[in-house]
């Protein structure tokens, strides 16, 4: 018997969606690679392999068709987001641990594709930053110029991890300096350090953020994401950072600094927009995005972690079902009803 109507179907598939998300990440990856070197590409490969192996294993255990689900691309998106949020010189096993945990625990133990209440990549980040806080805070030091071989040796553990190789992210450096300075430093003098900072935020990091923004706008143009989450994310982060910056520009960095630092752009366009773990109604998406931006700012500025996007997204994932329930839009013909 033939399937029921509609007989015409739009040429879309889960794989296509996931592939386009990967494509949209490319500008950001390119800027990132030019900033930190080819290490990031090595990490992308490691994470992808680990994700596919873990995915295949879980699919086999769960008795699901391997070819169909391995090619859906969802594991690759998770892997790439992990590689892009972990320190680029992190040891290979850290990335593998995070990825495997994301795929097996955060995704498949909850029911696999489409069933995970939390964003798997952010679960991996949260688990690793709690379990391995030191390793997760070591970013390539500024101006570090290492070739592919050297970077691979560090990642694979064949070369010693020397302290001078790594440091904090510009975002983390700013927070630490402001905290330790107890008011003796102010933002503008810190930003004057052109070794670390560029025009608005971390030197080179601005471009990475710009790359993600570009990819994100393309996703929006392709209608794979709606404007609600990124806009609400960026707006709420700008509002709170802007308010505090106006209150005390010496102690609080400008909105632009926050927008172009850390995981803001990646989070706003690629992580908080994850449909599975996020909100689905238009108003819900606005609340979700705004919550992410607000929490990310609070955690990164007042909390103990280098950045707050991961925890912000996870906290909002937790609230998403309730937000959806309370923000169901009125349907056709029922809008007059209060």
């Amino acid at each position: 018997m033939f399937p029921p109507a509609p007989f015409l179907l739009k040429d879309v598939s889960v794989s296509q969606v996931m592939i386009q998300v990967c494509v949209a990440l490319i500008p950001g990856i390119a800027a990132y690679a030019s900033l930190v070197g080819p290490a990031i590409l090595v990490q992308l490969v490691i994470a992808t392999l680990a994700a596919l192996v873990a995915e295949a294993l879980m699919l086999k255990v769960r008795g699901k068709p391997l070819a169909l689900f391995l090619t859906d691309g969802s594991a690759i998106v998770t892997a790439w987001l992990i590689a892009l949020t972990f320190p680029p010189l992190a040891p290979w096993w850290l990335v593998v641990t995070g990825t495997v945990f994301a795929v097996i625990v955060a995704k498949h133990l909850y029911g696999g594709l489409g069933q995970n209440p939390f964003n798997p990549a952010m679960v991996a980040f949260a688990v690793c930053i709690v379990a391995f806080p030191a390793l997760m805070s070591q970013w390539p030091s500024v101006g570090l110029q290492l070739g592919l071989i050297d970077q691979m040796n560090i990642i694979l553990g064949w070369a010693p991890r020397v302290d001078t190789l790594t440091g904090a992210t510009p975002l983390d450096a700013m927070k630490t300096a402001l905290k330790l300075g107890e008011g003796s430093f102010d933002v503008s003098t810190l930003l004057a350090n052109q070794d670390i900072y560029g025009n608005f935020a971390g030197r080179g990091w601005e471009w990475v953020a710009g790359g993600y923004l570009l990819g994100g706008l393309w996703l929006w143009h392709r209608k794979l994401i709606t404007w609600h989450v990124p806009l609400a994310f960026v707006a709420s982060l700008s509002l709170i950072s802007g308010a505090l910056w106006l209150y005390n520009p010496g102690q609080f960095a400008s909105p632009l600094f926050h927008l172009l630092s850390g995981g803001t752009m990646l989070g706003a366009f690629f992580i908080a927009t994850d449909p599975v773990s996020g909100c689905t109604t238009p108003r819900g998406k606005l609340i979700f995005g705004a919550g992410c931006g607000l929490l990310a700012y609070i955690i990164r500025v007042f909390g103990g972690y280098p950045d707050g996007v991961a925890f912000a997204v996870l906290l909002m994932n937790l609230s998403a079902p309730l937000i959806d329930l309370l923000t169901q839009p009125p349907i056709f013909g029922m809008k007059d009803k209060s």
Binding site: A5, P6, L9, V12, G114, I331, F332, M334
Partner: protein, 589 residues
């Protein structure tokens, strides 16, 4: 005429595939070898057959009589002989059989005497009646009896009459060709609807991918001096859904819980207007319709087809390619594959699409929902299909209703855009039918419960009544016993003192009266007096309740009454007076 158009949310733009079938003019399909005319071709009551096997019928002759107001008559599509009135498989996804009149054409195609009327001279009720008798139903696909929609709401003024020429489904062009070639009669038909409903405005909505049809309609409107507005609406599936077209043209949104007339709007298809005109002005009932034959065929074209024509005979006219593996009735978005190629064309058949894998590639395997929300963005009723899917799948039907599953018009937009290839509409149909089935079950159970409770109540009541009766009887028995005891005492005191019975049995007490009364003592005398007084009161009471019509009776009547009374006593129907019972006690005196 410039008009402010509104938008509906959602909608999709599938490839329209309409150009293939508009190149050739409408052709008359030849008489088929036999016609299978289902009796149930409209929403509402099942028409009753009024012919039987062997009957000769003429074209347009009534073969199925409308059953009730929401029902429409069915007619013989051509002249010939009724071969049988029997169950045949229907053009319905269920593949179920239904009662059909099978006619073998005689080739003459001879009409019944047709009676054209000037509807303006008829009262509105008669126009509606004629439309029902002519079998005019909504030809957009819903086949709702048209006359049932031609009464304006008494409370809400009729603002707009919407005429649906949108034809938004891909592949279908029968309304397009109808408007191109028969615009004048369509406009005249709209005139009938306008006169019956008296709307403030008449708006004819046509998707802007049919400029020829719109031009033809404008010309016809002008030529007939009407003030109807021909409006081109953006091509966006499902703009031809009645509710979507109403929204686009008027800005009004009709929810599932309301009728459009509640909002002062009514909507008809262009082909319905055309058949209404033919029925009234030419006296021709609906025996044929335009059908687009397209898809995997050499010569896609529109045909004027007799109702009851087997689909495979019609499809052959367009020369289907040999790899055709099925026939879709309707469009590719909402149509269905007919269960059998022999099924007849019915009034709801607007299009036949020859199906093959090239035009309609097999669906990729279903994946889990990733909640991307594409379905919600595509839904013209602004529902959340992925939530309804989730709950339908879990058979949590209460929740599906909370998410307004009954507002779903099954247009297929959600399935069309779903990247996980989930047949969402199928899930919703499943959920709806389950809910209906449960509703029926629940109603049946409620009925049974009601019956059971009533039975229980009745039994309890009967029990109580019985108990009451028994108690009364027992009390009466006790009273009687007490009275007997007293009477016995009295008899012992003064035999024969009992008053003469006023019944025919009185002679029985004659003997005791002869008994001696010497042994009277004062105590007994007092008792006797009391009893006598009581008996006198009782007698007075008895007399008081006796029917009044025994007064002033003639001697014969009195005698007859006495005879009856005697027979009653003989048959133990009434109890003899207590005085009678004193007799057996006498020997003791």
């Amino acid at each position: 005429m410039l008009m402010n158009l509104f938008k509906f949310k959602g909608g999709v733009k599938p490839p329209t595939n309409k150009t293939q079938s508009v190149n050739l003019p409408i052709a008359q399909a030849p008489l088929p070898s036999r016609l299978v005319v289902p009796l149930h071709q409209s929403i509402g009551g099942m028409p009753q057959p009024v012919v039987e096997a062997g009957d000769k019928v003429l074209k347009g002759q009534l073969i199925g009589e409308a059953d009730g107001w929401i029902s429409a008559a069915v007619h013989a599509p051509t002249s010939g002989t009724v071969v049988e009135v029997a169950m045949h498989v229907q053009p319905h996804p269920s593949g179920l059989d239904a009662l059909c009149v099978v006619i073998e054409p005689d080739g003459k195609d001879e009409w019944i005497p047709r009676e054209p009327v000037d509807y303006k001279s008829l009262p509105p009720e008669e126009v509606r009646e004629r439309l029902q008798q002519a079998g005019v139903v909504g030809l957009g696909g819903a086949v709702f009896p048209t006359h049932g929609k031609l009464t304006a709401s008494k409370t809400v003024p009729m603002d707009e009459l919407i005429i649906n020429g949108a034809e938004c489904e891909p592949f279908i062009t029968c309304d397009d060709l109808l408007m191109r070639e028969r615009a004048e009669e369509v406009v005249r038909g709209i005139g009938i609807f306008r006169d019956l409903l008296q709307p403030k405005k008449v708006l004819i909505g046509i998707e802007d991918n049919k400029p020829e049809a719109a031009a033809a309609m404008r010309l016809a409107v002008q030529a007939l001096g009407e003030s109807f507005a021909v409006v081109q609406v953006p091509t966006l599936y499902p703009a031809g859904g009645a509710k979507q077209l109403i929204r686009v043209l008027t800005g009004k949104e009709v929810p599932a819980s309301k009728r459009s007339t509640d909002l002062g709007v009514q909507c008809f298809n262009v082909a319905t207007a055309y058949t209404a005109w033919r029925a009234i002005a030419h006296g021709e009932p609906v025996v044929s319709r335009l059908v687009t034959v397209t898809g995997n065929v050499h010569e896609p074209r529109n045909y004027e087809v007799l109702i009851g024509t087997p689909m495979d005979e019609l499809l052959k006219l367009a020369h289907p390619h040999p790899d055709t593996d099925g026939i879709i009735m309707g469009g590719p978005m909402m149509g269905f594959l007919v269960p059998d190629r022999q099924v007849p064309v019915v009034k709801a058949t607007n299009c036949l699409i020859a199906h093959d894998d090239r035009l309609f590639p097999p669906k990729a395997p279903e994946m889990p929902c990733i909640r991307c929300g594409a379905c919600a963005q595509a839904c013209p009723h602004e529902l959340q299909p992925f939530e309804m899917y989730w709950f339908s799948r879990a058979k949590n039907f209460g929740k599906t209703q909370e998410y307004n599953i009954f507002d779903c018009i099954e247009c297929g937009c959600c399935s069309y855009v779903c990247p996980s290839r989930i047949p969402l509409v199928q899930y919703f149909r499943f959920a709806k039918s389950e809910i209906w089935a449960r509703e029926r079950e629940k109603n049946a159970a409620d009925q049974a419960k009601l019956r059971f409770e009533f039975k229980q109540l009745r039994e309890e009541r009967e029990k109580a009544e019985k108990a009451e009766k028994l108690a009364k009887a027992a009390a009466a028995q006790a009273a009687k016993k007490a009275a007997e005891a007293v009477a016995a005492a009295a008899a012992a005191g003064e035999s024969g003192a009992a008053p003469a019975a006023d019944t025919a049995a009185a002679p029985a007490v004659a003997t005791p009266t002869d008994a001696p009364t010497a042994t009277v003592n004062p105590e007994k005398e007092a008792k006797r007096a009391t009893i006598e007084a009581a008996m006198a009161r009782a007698k007075a009471q008895r007399e008081a309740v006796q029917p009044k019509n025994v007064d002033n009776l003639s001697p014969e009547q009195l005698k007859a009454a006495a005879d009856i009374e005697a027979r009653r006593i003989a048959a133990h129907l009434i109890e003899p007076q207590p005085a009678d019972q004193t007799a057996p006690l006498d020997p003791n005196n």
